[in-house]
């Protein structure tokens, strides 16, 4: 890599994405950045697995895929005394509309993921693991295949890693176009070569996961944060963020901003600052609404967003969720009915069909929003939308039902006047629209 190569701009506080040019993804580049030091240290010093887990617990790292579950706690659910096969799975099936951070990790810093998974496997005694990559990002999948080959060749993966007696085999698996496979048990079904239909929980994957064996599933970004935590200590990571919200988070900012892209900031950074990093509103328009955590999370009016900080608790207090960190920004020309219509179509299209409330309800929501958009809405339609949403949410095997219902409830809740205007006047309240 030439010294003059331009760094990709993820922001000044980036740790996972620091020092990346887009071209320096190879193992030698990663090692030059201090990569694999954490794995080497753990193996050389024979650090007890419980100490590794304790360090991750101390860091307050939470799952970056959407649920925000404490990572160290999840790891401690794996039965340590279990003598059979145990599996580790990385969820790189990133398809939540608005989210595109894992793709950057996979293509620009794949060894951070590999090292994070190796450390996790050591801590839980897993000998095999799979990285499930979203089917649509084929080039990132091929990049991961190359990176894995490098890691095997260098002895960071395989049998008896660095003469430590620890063996760990990691493989890439690709999806082929199903949003539902981002749900962890659907992903396991898919990995087993089946339709990606979610399983009932319990039993949870830690007791009955891949091939019926104890399994831990984490998101790409979660794993990629682990080497830094082991190198610098859990407390240092925690101190980057806020209590219970350790570290940095990569936010994918899309929509009506001047510079859509990924920005890695400390948890607790004000939304206004993040918006500024993304170049502010495109064409100088004003902020009307924002979905702060991916399309499945409730939308918030701009004024509420501008007063909110980007961490799990602050966004929850504002009435939404941090989710996957996908920040979808909408300006004052956007029609909320048309926006919701596109999201409702997505959930209708992607429902796996297993549970009746979701299979039937998502189509119902889409058809009702569609007739409002088309000027054929009836007065009772808004209450009907809320009622259908209530009858989907919480009544399905997985969270896709909730994901379809939450946008409807929040769009109608915050922008009811716009929906009512469509029904009353058979036209849009805003001058132009999506």
């Amino acid at each position: 890599m030439s010294a003059s190569a331009k760094l990709l701009d993820y922001g000044p506080d980036a740790i996972i994405m620091a020092g990346l040019t887009g071209a320096n993804w190879r193992l030698a580049d990663y090692v030059a950045r201090g990569g694999y030091d954490a794995l080497k240290k753990i193996l050389a010093e024979k650090v007890p697995p419980t100490t590794v887990i304790a360090e991750v617990k101390k860091s307050a790292l939470r799952g970056r895929g959407g649920a925000g579950f404490p990572t160290g706690l999840k790891w401690s659910f794996m039965p340590q005394q279990y003598r059979g096969d145990k599996y580790l799975v990385c969820n790189s099936d990133e398809g939540e509309p608005g989210t595109f951070k894992d793709r950057d990790i996979l293509r620009y810093n794949p060894h951070a993921l590999i090292e994070g998974m190796a450390i996790d496997a050591y801590a839980m005694g897993c000998a095999r693991a799979y990285n499930y990559v979203h089917g649509e990002i084929w080039e990132a999948y091929e990049r991961c295949e190359e990176a894995l080959a490098e890691a095997f060749d260098a002895g960071f993966l395989g049998d008896n890693i660095l003469d430590s007696g620890f063996s760990f085999h990691l493989f890439n698996h690709h999806g082929y176009g199903a949003y539902i496979c981002g749900e962890e048990t659907a992903l396991l079904e898919s990995l087993e070569g089946k339709k990606g239909q979610p399983r009932f929980k319990p039993p949870f994957p830690a007791s009955f996961g891949l091939y019926g064996k104890p399994t831990t599933i984490n998101n790409t970004e979660t794993f990629a944060a682990v080497p830094w935590i082991i190198r610098n200590g859990g407390e240092a990571f925690l101190n980057l963020g806020r209590p219970n919200n350790g570290g940095t988070k990569i936010f994918s900012v899309s929509g009506d901003v001047a510079r859509p892209g990924n920005y890695e900031v400390r948890l607790g950074t004000p939304f206004a600052k993040l918006l500024e990093m993304a170049g502010g509103m495109r064409d100088g328009r004003s902020l009307k609404a924002c979905i702060p955590g991916g399309s499945s999370m409730p939308v918030l009016p701009g004024a509420i967003m501008m007063a909110t900080d980007m961490d799990y608790e602050s966004i929850a207090k504002a009435g939404s969720m941090l989710g996957s960190g996908a920040v979808i920004v909408m300006n004052d020309t956007r029609c909320m009915v048309k926006s919701l219509l596109r999201l409702s179509y997505f959930y209708y299209e992607e429902s796996c069909g297993q549970c009746t409330p979701c299979r039937e309800g998502t189509g119902w929501l889409w058809r009702v929003v569609n007739r409002i958009e088309c000027g054929q809405g009836k007065n009772e339609d808004l209450d009907l939308l809320l009622s259908v949403s209530d009858n989907i949410a919480g009544r399905t095997i997985c969270a896709l039902g909730d994901a379809a219902a939450l946008p409807v409830k929040s769009f109608v809740g915050h922008f009811r006047d716009e929906f009512q205007h469509h029904i009353d006047h058979k036209q849009c309240l805003v001058p132009t629209y999506v």
């Binding site: 096969d85 990133e94 398809g95 939540e96 509309p97 608005g98 989210t99 595109f100 894992d102 793709r103 095999r128 799979y130 979203h134 089917g135 649509e136 990002i137 084929w138 080039e139 493989f171 890439n172 698996h173 690709h174 999806g175 082929y176 176009g177 199903a178 949003y179 898919s190 990995l191 087993e192 070569g193 089946k194 339709k195 990606g196 091939y211 994918s252 900012v253 899309s254 929509g255 009506d256 859509p260 892209g261 990924n262 399309s295 996908a326 979808i328 920004v329 909408m330 956007r334 926006s339 596109r342 999201l343 997505f346 299209e349 992607e350 796996c352 999506v434």
Partner: protein, 165 residues
């Protein structure tokens, strides 16, 4: 049914999984078969079922569940464009309309010369580069405004005439 090279690729995928879990390779095996055939005729699915020791119906279930498998013949190039909300906020609908007009087809249709099939896609996980489209499931193209669409179509027409895929 499939070439020797394709079978070797499938064998490499099978080797990723425990010996008694060959079924795990079905998604990649179908993708490899599709790369070679252009789509998944029933004979190709049956071949994969036999190769992996699976009931054919289990393979059909997979092929019908995942959106990137072609269960009908498609043009030499399949263009899938995302129109989901984040992309739509960044002009994806205009780009999709432009593609339709340029190609003279709607979503799910193939140009009369058999060169291009146009499809509407769902989130591809690249919203920062919107408008985003994928050519033949493998090649992602970002920031696809009309000028770049023109360049892509010219490239595909030239390559199509040259017999490349």
């Amino acid at each position: 049914m499939l070439s020797e090279a394709a079978l070797r690729r499938i064998d490499r995928e099978i080797a990723k999984y425990p010996p008694d879990q060959k079924q795990s390779a079905v998604m990649s095996a179908l993708a490899i078969a599709q790369d070679e055939k252009g789509w998944l005729p029933p004979e190709a699915m049956d071949f994969v079922a036999n190769y992996l020791g699976m009931p054919p119906v289990a393979v059909y279930e997979v092929a019908t569940f995942y959106a990137m498998y072609n269960r009908q013949p498609v043009g030499k190039y399949k263009i899938t464009i995302c129109t989901n909300l984040p992309c739509a906020l960044q002009d994806a609908v205009q780009s999709a309309e432009y593609l339709k007009a340029k190609l003279g087809v709607g979503f799910g249709e193939t140009t009369s010369d058999g060169l291009v099939t146009l499809q509407e896609g769902e989130c591809m996980g690249a919203c920062g580069d919107a408008p985003v489209l994928i050519v033949n499931n493998k090649r992602m193209c970002g920031l696809m405004q009309p000028e770049k669409i023109d360049a892509l179509l010219a490239e595909l027409r030239a390559a199509g005439a040259g017999g490349e895929r």
